[in-house]
């Protein structure tokens, strides 16, 4: 039957024996080794002519189909998808929290026979994974779509924004949680911040840096901290809740427009840039502490949705030796805006100036952010900055390049007029621009130094 993934010789061998995946088989190798186990699907990688067998001791081993002397079917196993999920026992009167599944590590579960990961996202699943929620929230859940976060597009942002608005209008939850792959979670969080202009509760994006199939996964504690935020937050903004450090007890609530994934693998990969986090959550106490008084409060006037993103917008990173053709290409192909990640205070090489000038002249909005990530763009200090301003480029202030890109996409879906677009782009809409650069927006690296000074105690 289904032998997808196996190579030609393996398939012939298996078909002749009438064997399909998840059959229990007995294989004799040419050196006399006799193996009995369950035939598993062939993983995508590796040699497709090697059969993968799960032995009775739990180990998987590969048996080269070209070395098989004989093979026969001895039985079949039923593939179970985990055990029974018991019904949750809820504390009465709990605030409602709605979960939207969009894909990613956090909304998946392992099949222990095949090792395959499959999506799951019912309320029962969530309670089963995080039983503490029985005391925190009445959970409802749905899967909006199931897409790797690197495959998401601005259209997906719109779909999420649309659904969040609906849920707030119709079901009046205390907050909505969006389970999201971590790679582009920052972009989506920013997009929701712009599209959802007014909210009765927070939209909390949450993900996992360690897959949910491992006991050490950060998904359960992240979900718990996100739910505590959804229930207890006095603010109604788009935020990202993830581990604050390596420990499982402290979580930061980062503003969607300020947060960036700063590490490929650590649990505490998400950092607020040019600002401190909005709040923190502590476990097991389940307490939320807000760090500032400047935030959008829960609105009593319902949701204000201004949805839609212009797709003809680009985020371009400048690098030494960059050719002006790259800018020309965008202009020639009808792009309406671009954010260039320049160097330092907001610079690019001289050879790009004519192309940028042409872009602006043809009505393309060109914004300059900085690849320093931290700090504010200031194009008045050096000559190149002044030249860029002169040809019509706009400085992105202290916005993250990614936030600037998302914002420009959103702005250009609101207006076609470049001048108006520029004005809107430079207006603070969701705390993405601060006029003051506070010292603690850039945390010092005293971490290791403190320990070194302590003599590696």
């Amino acid at each position: 039957m289904d032998l997808t993934g196996y190579g030609e010789k393996a398939v012939v061998l298996l078909e002749n024996a009438g064997v399909s995946v998840f059959d229990e088989i007995e294989v004799e190798r040419d050196d006399g080794v006799l193996l009995c186990g369950v035939l598993l699907p062939r993983p995508q990688y590796g040699d497709p002519e090697v059969l993968v067998l799960k032995l009775s001791n739990g180990y998987n081993v590969g048996v080269d189909a070209r070395r098989v002397k004989s093979l026969r079917k001895v039985g079949r196993v039923e593939v179970s998808r985990g055990g029974q999920t018991p019904s949750p026992v809820l504390k009465p009167g709990l605030p409602r929290v709605h979960f939207l599944g969009t894909g990613g590590t956090i909304a998946s579960r392992i099949d222990y026979v095949s090792g395959a990961v499959y999506p799951y996202f019912t309320a029962e699943d969530i309670y089963s994974m995080v039983p503490e929620l029985e005391e925190v929230a009445f959970v409802t859940a749905e899967t909006l779509f199931n897409v790797f976060s690197e495959d998401l597009t601005p259209r997906h942002w719109s779909m999420i924004a649309e659904r969040v608005a609906q849920v707030f209008e119709k079901e009046e939850p205390a907050g909505v949680i969006v389970a999201h792959g971590t790679d582009t979670m920052g972009y989506t969080a920013a997009a929701l911040a712009f599209a959802l202009r007014r909210l009765p509760g927070p939209v909390v994006l949450v993900g996992a840096q360690r897959s949910s199939d491992r006991p050490s996964s950060d998904s359960a504690t992240n979900v718990l901290a996100a739910t505590v935020t959804a229930v207890k937050a006095p603010f109604a903004e788009s935020v990202v809740v993830m581990h604050a450090g390596l420990r499982d007890t402290l979580f930061y609530v980062n503003r969607g427009v300020r947060v960036r994934k700063m590490h490929t693998s650590r649990r505490d990969a998400f950092r607020s840039v040019n600002s401190i986090p909005l709040a923190k959550v502590e476990l097991p106490a389940r307490e939320l502490k807000v760090f500032t008084k400047r935030y959008a409060r829960r609105s009593k006037e319902g949701v204000l949705l201004e949805n839609g993103f212009e797709e003809k917008v680009a985020l371009v990173k400048f690098y030494p030796g960059m050719s002006a053709e790259l800018i020309d290409y965008l202009v020639d192909n009808g792009y309406k805006g671009m954010v260039i990640e320049g160097t330092g205070l907001g610079h690019v090489a001289e050879n790009l100036l004519p192309s940028i000038k042409r872009a602006v002249d043809e009505g393309v909005v060109v914004a300059i952010a900085s690849q320093c990530i931290w700090g504010r763009v200031n194009m008045n200090v050096y000559r190149r900055g002044v030249e860029l301003l002169k040809v019509g480029a706009i400085p992105s202030e202290d916005m993250l390049p990614e936030t600037a890109y998302v914002k420009l996409s959103w702005v250009l879906a609101r207006t076609d007029d470049p001048r108006e677009a520029a004005k809107l782009f430079l207006t603070n809409l969701a705390f993405e621009i601060e006029e003051r650069s506070e010292e603690w927006g850039y945390p010092p690296l005293s971490y290791f130094e403190d320990r070194l000074n302590g003599g590696y105690s």
Partner: protein
């Protein structure tokens, strides 16, 4: 009555790097640089599939505190970065071990995750891969099948267990181990010892494994006909294996007898109820300190009747360990109580015979009935007695299957219920690794010589007599012998008698020879070969090193004043002694030789070679005799 024993040997490999990252494979003595706290968890729906012990541990909700080092542990051990590729050096060693044990190697290696939720792995699973299977090792003419050879990562080191958290250190996590599993075909204690020795020796002969305390660990599974499979974990010393097997066989036989006696007495499962009785009132004026302490701090005295168990709780199952001890172990495990008291051991510990009689009366105990008492906080006390009754019920069946831990004296204690089948699933962060025939052939050339060839060599090349040769062949330190006579160039006879004689004698005398490392010995033999030490000084030097393991060998020799004398110095010293004793010599002639030799030995032993000394004394004595004649 037939006995079946299987052995599982875990041996740390001496690779440069860990199994899944490039950190060194060294344990540290200095304090950690950083620490962090974590939980492990499983979806509730998955708990049902796990073994009860793991779920029980898990339900305590403890946190894990991990200790890390900036310069020798990395994000991989912290579970903050996916594993790197499987260490090729470790894979090669695991294949070498497989081939040396006549195993067949798999065509493609799949790394698995084995769920472990006691916190000893930051990930919540141990990574392990099956490398070889269907092998055998020959021991005393018997072919003992080797079921599997696996390559796995070692767990973190448990440093401390606190009330709310367990402290683990990450230095050991990820060090490669090979796990060798024999079929359960070993039929007596001596054979178990020999099989473990042969496998351990073979592992060392590859030259790629770590040595010293804690680098090899044996688990045994033992079942006696009519009994049950019992797993014994963590036997750290090879010498202990026969005794552990012997004691476990003894325990299972005794338990079967107890079961038989209970049947004779007509005790059934239904007779054993967990109806506990609060007897606090009876201990109002007790002189038992344990009881008083519990009662004054809000605890209670609870008792439970065990019908038909009189005089059986005190039956000795292993030296110093009774059925009552096993019940206490269970109570400690499931209820974390300090201990229990059973009627076979009372009155004692400050509990008076009046109190015993009163408890018996309250429980309506007949002559054949026993009881168990516990002084504790009420909830815990109830849980403790439930565990006791459960163990009593199991006694009706004879031997409960369980996991036990080895004590240093060879007896065992309850550790936890037998784990269910391990839950394993693929480590999707590591791609399957194909094993090429070329690679196998290259590794095959590295297999150490088989014992027969070694034996021939010991007799013919090294000139050992067959008796000594056999002992060296069966020595765990066979590889040290080969290095000492090969690289170091020491005398085979002296090396053999040091390894197989001196060390054993010193141990018998209570010298802590387990502190002696292979490095100590090799240094010692090198020094001997260079003439920096005479063989008579060896016992004293080893004794000193055993007591001061951080001291260098040469330093020890100096400290003991055992630096050898030059020929001139030796002659001069002998001349001095002989002239001092010239009167005796003149008087008794050659008959005085042994007296003079004795005196010389007292002064120069260990600083001059014995043979040479004897020759010098003889010469000088003869001179004196001649001079006087």
């Amino acid at each position: 009555m037939s006995v079946k024993v299987g052995i599982e040997i875990h041996q740390m490999l001496d690779t440069k790097h860990k199994l899944f990252c490039n950190c060194p494979t060294e344990l540290r003595r200095d304090g950690p640089h950083s620490e962090f706290r974590r939980w492990l968890r499983l979806a509730r729906s998955e708990l049902g599939e796990l073994d009860p012990a793991a779920v029980f541990e898990y339900s305590k909700g403890k946190m894990f505190l991990y200790e890390a080092y900036f310069d020798s542990t990395c994000l991989v051990e912290m579970d903050e970065e996916p594993p790197h590729q499987l260490n090729p050096e470790a894979l090669e060693t695991a294949i070498l071990v497989s081939l040396a044990l006549n195993c067949k190697v798999v065509d493609e290696v799949h790394v698995m995750r084995k769920i472990v939720i006691d916190g000893s792995n930051t990930t919540g699973f141990q990574r392990t891969a099956l490398i070889g299977l269907n092998g055998h090792v020959d021991v005393g003419g018997k072919k003992v099948p080797i079921n599997t050879v696996c390559l796995e990562e070692d767990a973190a080191r448990k440093m401390e267990e606190r009330e709310r958290e367990v402290v683990y250190r990450l230095d050991r996590l990820g060090i490669p181990l090979v796990e060798v599993t024999t079929a359960p075909v070993i039929s007596n204690p001596e054979e178990a010892g020999l099989v473990a020795l042969r496998i351990g020796q073979l592992l060392r002969m590859t030259g790629r494994v770590k040595r010293g305390l804690g680098t090899i660990r044996q688990d045994l599974n033992i079942s006696v006909e009519g009994g049950a499979r019992v797993e014994i974990k963590g036997v750290q010393e090879l010498e202990l294996i026969p005794r552990v097997v012997e004691y476990e066989v003894m325990r299972q036989k005794k338990l079967l007898e107890v079961g038989e006696e209970l049947r004779k007495r007509g005790v059934g499962r239904g007779d054993l109820s967990t109806n506990v009785l609060d007897v606090s009132e009876l201990f109002k004026d007790t002189s038992s300190r344990v009881a008083r302490k519990a009662l004054t701090s809000g605890g209670v005295a609870l008792a439970v009747k065990l019908p038909g168990f009189a005089r059986l709780l005190g039956v000795e199952l292993q030296p110093g360990r009774r059925l009552g001890t096993e019940m206490a172990d269970r109570a400690r495990y499931w209820a974390e109580v300090g201990g229990i008291f059973h009627s076979d051991e009372l009155p004692a510990y400050g509990i008076s015979s009046e109190e015993v009689t009163a408890v018996r009366k309250a429980l309506q105990c007949g002559e054949l009935d026993a009881f168990v008492l516990v002084f504790e906080e009420k909830k815990r006390a109830i849980r403790a007695l439930e565990a006791v009754v459960e163990r009593a019920r199991e006694a009706l069946e004879g031997v409960p299957p369980e996991t036990r831990g080895a004590n240093p004296d060879g007896t065992t204690r309850f550790m936890r219920p037998m784990p269910g089948s391990a839950r394993m699933y693929p480590e999707t962060d590591i791609r399957p690794i194909p094993i090429e025939t070329v690679m196998l052939e290259r590794i095959r050339a590295l297999i150490p010589e088989p014992p027969e060839v070694k034996y021939e060599k010991l007799v013919k090349v090294y000139g050992l007599n067959p008796e000594i040769a056999k002992r060296v062949l069966w020595s765990y330190r066979l590889d040290v012998f080969e290095k000492a006579v090969g690289e170091a160039g020491a005398s085979p006879t002296v090396v053999a008698s040091t390894l197989e004689g001196t060390l054993v004698e010193l141990r018998r005398d209570g010298v802590p020879v387990h502190n002696i490392t292979d490095e100590h010995l090799l240094e010692l033999f090198k020094l001997l070969a260079r003439g920096g030490l005479v063989k008579e000084a060896i016992p004293a030097v080893i004794k000193y090193l055993a007591e001061n393991p951080d001291v260098e060998v040469e330093e020890a020799v100096k400290k003991l004043g055992l630096t050898p004398l030059s020929l001139e110095e030796a002659k001069e010293a002998v001349r001095r002694i002989v002239s001092r004793m010239s009167d005796v010599i003149k008087e008794r002639g050659e008959a005085a030789f042994s007296t003079v030799m004795g005196a010389t030995m007292r002064e120069l032993r260990g600083r001059v070679d014995g043979g040479l000394l004897s020759k010098l004394v003889r010469e000088e004595v003869l001179k004196v005799i001649k001079g006087s004649g």
